[in-house]
């Protein structure tokens, strides 16, 4: 299974790891870390918005958060998905 990730463990950043998923399996998002307890819903929505904007229907994403704002979550998700697409395998 191909995977790619982007981001760092620094404060206000996160590591997003994207893994290929079987066609028809849909989008799965796992979120863990500093803000998950109070911002889980917002974080999930932020990640999903990037996936849908990029027209991806089947992927598994896992977020290890260290206080990232939506903007950062989205930038890291996009980078991870681009890397997955481009074959830049981590």
């Amino acid at each position: 299974m191909k995977t790619a990730s982007a981001g760092t463990v620094e404060s206000m950043d996160c590591i997003v790891t994207a893994s290929e998923a079987d066609p028809g399996s849909g989008v799965t998002v796992q979120i863990a870390g500093a803000s998950a307890a109070r911002f889980g819903s917002a974080m999930r929505a932020a990640v999903l918005s990037v996936v849908s904007k990029m027209g991806i229907t089947d992927v598994t994403l896992s977020v290890q958060d260290n206080g990232a704002l939506d903007l950062v979550l989205q930038a890291r998700t996009e980078a991870a998905l681009e890397r997955l697409k481009g074959g830049d395998v981590a």
């Binding site: 404060s11 206000m12 500093a34 803000s35 307890a37 109070r38 911002f39 889980g40 819903s41 917002a42 932020a46 958060d65 260290n66 206080g67 990232a68 704002l69 939506d70």
Partner: protein, 516 residues
Amino acid sequence: MSINAVGRHLPDAIPGYGPVKPFQGAAARVPEGHRDGGRLRAVYGGKDKVLPDLKAAIAASGLQSGMTISFHHHLRNGDHVINAVVDACAEMGLRDLVLFPTALFGVHKKLIPHIKSGVIRRIMGSVNGPIGQLVSEGGMEDPVVLRSHGGRPRAVTSGDVHIDVAFVGAPTADRYGNISGVGSRSACGSLGYAHTDAMYADCVVAVTDNLQPYPISRISIPQHYVDFVVAVESIGDPAGIVSGSTQITRDPLRLLISRYASQLIEASPCFKNGISFQTGAGGIPLAVTAFLKDAMKRRNVKGSFGLGGITGYFVDLLREGYVERLLDVQSFDLEAVKSIAENPDHIEISADWYANPWNSGAAVNALDVVILGATELDRDFNANVNTEADGALLHGTGGHQDTAAGAGLTIIAQPLLRGRIPCVVDAVYSVTTPGEVVDALVTEFGVTLNPRRTDLVEACREAKTVPLVPMEELVDRAKKLTGPMDPVVTEERIVGVIEWRDGTVLDVVRQLTPRK
């Protein structure tokens, strides 16, 4: 059910706590009656109070299952005393003990098995780290009671809490029970938090690793309060008791906030000769002190005293003449320990003297400026220092309430965001300190003044040096940055009671529902 003065709904009584007196306002409650006191005792003759070990002292003290034992936290994260005493109690078959420490630290997670097995039934005092998590998840029979450094001696002197046996960790003690906080490798300086317990407990046991011939010098707690003395191998790890030299932070965000806070103080009416302040040992408060020192030098202002937890930085201020005295309830580092032993202007004070609202006037009343932190602040300037964003009870109240209530200018200084977690919200999860005694919040976005303090608003506008941000704007900005928060999901069951320093209830903390 009732609603208190900060708008919290409270039950009339809480199982394991008793009837609830709702918070009515910072200075609303006036006590009646007389002070409580320890058991009378007489010692005719005798030159030696030393017993062979902890178990002998526990037996001699008359400690029974269900009784209340107290400890001070001057040995901080180096403390060996609490764990050793509770271990001994467990081995002696005692159960249902009420632990009444002035604070607990990470090192005390070793008590968890004793909580689970029922040796400890209840904790009255701060809980943090793993014990806090355990309590938050409902792992304790009775709710913990959170009191401030002043609220605790109030509870003791008024009889709200009766101490059966006080175990006093003693860096130095003599054979007849005189105790000192200095003079050994376990030196912690001030023993301020232990004084009241020693005076009001039915029995007092000194636990030392530096037993000296009678009498020692520089006595903090004198022999006539102390019943037994036990010598042990070690009362604590020096590395955990005091920190090394305290450095001013280089972190740019903290320095920025500190600079704004110091500009606020300089612009305020209290910046004049005789100014007194408390800044503790945190990164931001210490940096504020450094900026304040520059301002005092530049404007030729001389201070009167520094209060509270004392660091080497404050010792330098005393030595260089920026303040005349230090009133020390707790010495944070080696420099402070050294200074309190040598400098007569560096004065040890008890927690009662420091902060108790129910005596003839505590030291906090004379305080001009205090710099504090908080996990959250709300639109009404209510501060939360007890619970984290996820609702877990992880921090003690410390001197937060007392200094805020006493100081002329109470400043909460910290970043608007810790990661994604904002420090300003519509309503705090738990109220530790009511907004009526909080004057300003300082963040990286500037200074947010409590509109109640029109004098400060005026002074800052005049000075033109302080960037002002209204609370409404700050809350909106935080919301825009972080997005909407999910609610904390809890059970009905109350696991913590947050008292105001006068013993009324500000808020309760409920058991967390496990997240899936």
